[in-house]
Symmetry: C2
């Protein structure tokens, strides 16, 4: 039995793997999902259902479009200012980690950037809360979950400035009020589906105001008009995302999975705090439910513990090099039994090494 | 038995479907190819092998980089001028179809475009040959195969101007002399692999001369430096492309598949020319071996013939709305027996309707 705690691309439900595998052999009348035209009614129905499931699961209000794109969050780092930041204007960014920083670096290609708060000096172990957003900002940008550092934003600012959020690593893991955001984007490869797909949820009325000529493939309006089919979409990634979103719906949707994710995070953080060998790396109030970062009081025990965990079926627990120690990524599809296994291994290891 | 003549995403070898399907269930130690990190040694080996196979199969000379990107040829339409066209300079384009035209439309975002020859007035039924490329062009851009109209370029200009070519629909179908090109790009979804992957082959020395600040994800140099892993790549599409390129190599490589493609095209064009009910739509010397467009002398018979073909297992034969009639796409993985079946159906139909 393997327990996949990898940070991503990451675990999806076993039944999704089975269905996706089957569609690679036979999606329709003996034809593989890989060899059908994206213009067939059957695949158009897949795009339609995937889009509808995103809207339904996140309760997306009217006036928003859902797009299925390529290029990952990294391409969004550029597309956001390209589409939303008029030349000479300023966008406000919250710097909460490496990915936020990468987003920040793209802004000067298009306008000015104002880093209104940062936790860089403390190696991003917390989410800054004491900041105000200048009213003349073209938009405010934040990262809801910081995969590398294990922090998560549990409140978002009330502001008249348009709010843009990179939700790559916690979208679909908890309920959010989409109406508080103007643009949400997410690489699919955590809780949505396989790598190679990017979800964008955009309030239509914020578009078309940059005064900039935008290449077609980088223009949200072009993709809205094309129904996410301006060009050949990443067919298999979309199909598998649809299967995964169907699974999420069958589980009771985002509200139900949020309960499970809370229970999973509670179980592991409780052990980290209780077990004298381990300690968390982040401010308690900002602890992510998706990526749980922790180290050992005695760093020399980290290699032996990792080895012990791996020998017992734990995958992907090694921490990112920027933080060290361990990172337990606990996306929607990770069963709570896997968390219990990890907790048990921490307990057994502590008994041996106390 | 199905015969998939679809234009794309299109047929791949059955053994590739089987291997890809299996990897969705179990790529390594029980883990799906969809749930492994792109930073695992196992997947890094996939990227390395895919890149190496592209170099080997196309005999790519030293001094060129092979990139595995996202966004399709459509994103390349913008990335090419963004990276290669200094502001105020002119790029020369050959207009041979809708895709060439879409590439042309992106140029004014970055510089000037000079359409040095076009077959638009004749609905792109031939490839212009009588043109000269101004020596002060930043580059010359052409489309080697025109999927919609069924024409293909069988010679490329000798010029000191850098040559850029969109080879989306005939790359890997025939031998090419890569050294005659400075940048080749191709959406994967014909002869390389599933949709969601784009191959770029670029001569390193032409980069870094645009004088323009380029967003990281749109900068070829960034992807070269990142070994196609600047961000999370489209894992499954790359893996399946690797399987398909392995298959191509096992068949004897591009030279051998070119022989088969010539035999397939010869069989169908011979029947089109012989059968009094059918006629080709393109100049004979420019006839594509990948996409064979033809119509009927009596347009009223087209619907009945399409129905007859479909009833006998032929998929995807309907022509593009810009041309009408039929389009038989005959990519590498289409067996010659499928072409023989189509020819036989044309003969049977002619006997009934003469």
């Amino acid at each position: 039995m393997r327990h996949n705690f990898g940070a991503g691309p990451c675990i999806l439900p076993q039944e999704v793997f089975k269905q996706a595998s089957q569609a690679v052999l036979d999606f329709k009348d003996g034809l593989s999902i890989l060899e059908i035209s994206h213009r067939t009614p059957e695949f158009e129905a897949v795009v339609e259902e995937t889009t509808r499931l995103v809207k339904e699961l996140l309760n997306v209000p009217s006036g928003y479009s859902v797009l299925l794109l390529q290029g990952g969050a990294s391409l969004q780092f550029a597309m956001v200012p390209m589409n939303l930041l008029p030349e000479g204007k300023t966008a406000s960014y919250l710097e909460t980690g490496v990915w936020a920083n990468k987003a920040i670096k793209e802004v000067p290609n298009f306008g000015k950037v104002n880093i209104i708060a940062s936790s860089k000096d403390s190696n991003f172990t917390f989410v800054p809360k004491d900041y105000s957003i200048p009213e003349d900002s073209a938009y405010f940008h934040c990262t809801s979950n910081n995969t590398i550092y294990g922090t998560e934003m549990f409140s978002f600012p009330d502001t008249k400035v348009p709010v843009v959020c990179d939700m790559s690593s916690d979208i679909m893991s908890r309920e959010i009020d989409v109406s508080k955001f103007d643009l949400i984007y997410a690489g699919a490869q955590k809780n949505i589906g396989p790598a190679g797909l990017t979800i964008v949820i955009v309030k239509d009325e914020i578009l078309g105001k940059s005064g900039r000529k935008i290449p077609a493939m980088l223009d949200y309006s072009v993709h809205i008009e094309g129904g996410s089919m301006y060009n050949t979409p990443p067919v298999f990634s979309i199909y598998t995302a649809m299967l995964n979103l169907r699974w999420l719906k069958s589980k009771g949707g985002v509200a139900e999975i949020e309960k499970e994710n809370k229970a999973k995070a509670y179980a592991l953080y409780t052990e980290i705090d209780r077990n004298p060998l381990f300690k968390g790396t982040c401010a308690v109030e900002d602890r992510s439910r998706m990526n749980i970062c922790f180290v050992m009081e005695n760093p020399e025990l980290e290699k032996p513990f990792l080895k012990f965990a791996e020998e017992n079926g734990i995958e992907g627990l090694k921490g990112h090099r920027s933080v060290g120690g361990f990172r337990a990524s606990m996306y929607n599809a990770l069963p709570i039994t896997s968390v219990h296994t990890l907790v048990e291994l921490m307990q057994i290891f502590a008994e041996k090494h106390q």
